[in-house]
Symmetry: C2
Subunit: 215 residues, 2 copies
Amino acid sequence: MTSQKSSAGMIAASGRKPADKVAARAPQRERGRARVAALLAAASEVFAENGYDAATMTEIAARAGASIGSLYQFFPTKELIAEALHAQYSDDFAAMLAGLAPRVAGKPGATLADVLFRDLSGFLTAHPAFVVLADRRDIDKKRKKKTHARLRGQIAALLAQADPPIAPARAEALAVIVLHLLRSAVAIAGEDDLPHRAAVLEELRAMLRRHLAAA
Amino acid sequence: MTSQKSSAGMIAASGRKPADKVAARAPQRERGRARVAALLAAASEVFAENGYDAATMTEIAARAGASIGSLYQFFPTKELIAEALHAQYSDDFAAMLAGLAPRVAGKPGATLADVLFRDLSGFLTAHPAFVVLADRRDIDKKRKKKTHARLRGQIAALLAQADPPIAPARAEALAVIVLHLLRSAVAIAGEDDLPHRAAVLEELRAMLRRHLAAA
DNA sequence: GCCTTATATGAGGCTTGGCTCATGTTTTGG
DNA sequence: CCAAAACATGAGCCAAGCCTCATATAAGGC
């Protein structure tokens, strides 16, 4: 699974709960933490396999080896477990981007394209639930905007410090495109009955590379 | 709305129904045809606004000014009305591609990129339900494969007859990419709270143009 | 006019799935 | 060891939504 603490922080801030705003209950004991981890792992599988709507709380609980009541102990709504998972992946993804920054600073655009394409689409492919959750329609607008802005900003920052540096405004636009290209890559990778899958992905990578290589 | 006959043909082939395979009942009288048209138009709106899962048969009927029973008269399942709509859009899209062919034959790749980007993403933006229905997870595998293969083939054919002609194998790969780029374009166009939307779309178009321009 | 077939209607059957709650069991602090 | 808090359990409540059906009404064909 992905990092534990990153999302543990997202679950019910330590102090007072503001009003009675529904939030995930944070586990207090070791057993609880293990449960939460198992539940999140199970949810990740079920969401990835069935999508958000078709995923059922009953199956998530079952796959985690927990009762339905135990699931609701920590995640009072289906929406909340989706949010917790999404926040976790989001943080992990951001962390990966941050780790990438020092390694690619000052490199030419083409190299940047290769690295982004390989590492980021690798992450998304390894965590299909992330894409599912990020794409769902009924996601909270505010949260979505913030998450998206953060990722865009990080990618734009990487692009801005390429060898022939890219102007910030253009880097922002390119970041949006990179994100969409990655989703396409994941979709292509997961498509069944697609001949020459590898060739298509290679072509996609080449396209981005060529575009970033050109000033 | 889109062409009527294209999907009228998809609704319950004229002869015997093979076994008792559930299929949309074809209207026999004028009143019925009007109903079907209204129902499809309503379904298109509701699917586009809410997605397949969240769309309800009750709302589709209401928006068409019909009773729920009347809706089920012509479309015995939710799945069937989705299929009918999707088939209609699919045919219309294919028709548009066919109409494009003579107009772009022998033109350079860059021009082709511009035309494809403008006309096709225009079509998708004008018919958002098409994208929603094409993307839904529980779509019939066989049907999806066929539809996809047809569109890919048509786009590949356009690319193959560009001025410096593109080899068929590569054209097929590029066709897959073009389809995905178009979906990205529609997504970007529909994204709210996205600064510089126009600039992003322009960048996307430029990327495809550059890639197709290079041999 | 009359019979047949197409179309219209909406109350309700029925399943699914999110969620609650009363009743346990385990763990911890003192 | 014991009380309190954390955690576990699963039967079942409940709303939503797909779909059926008995009962109309409109529209041809003769």
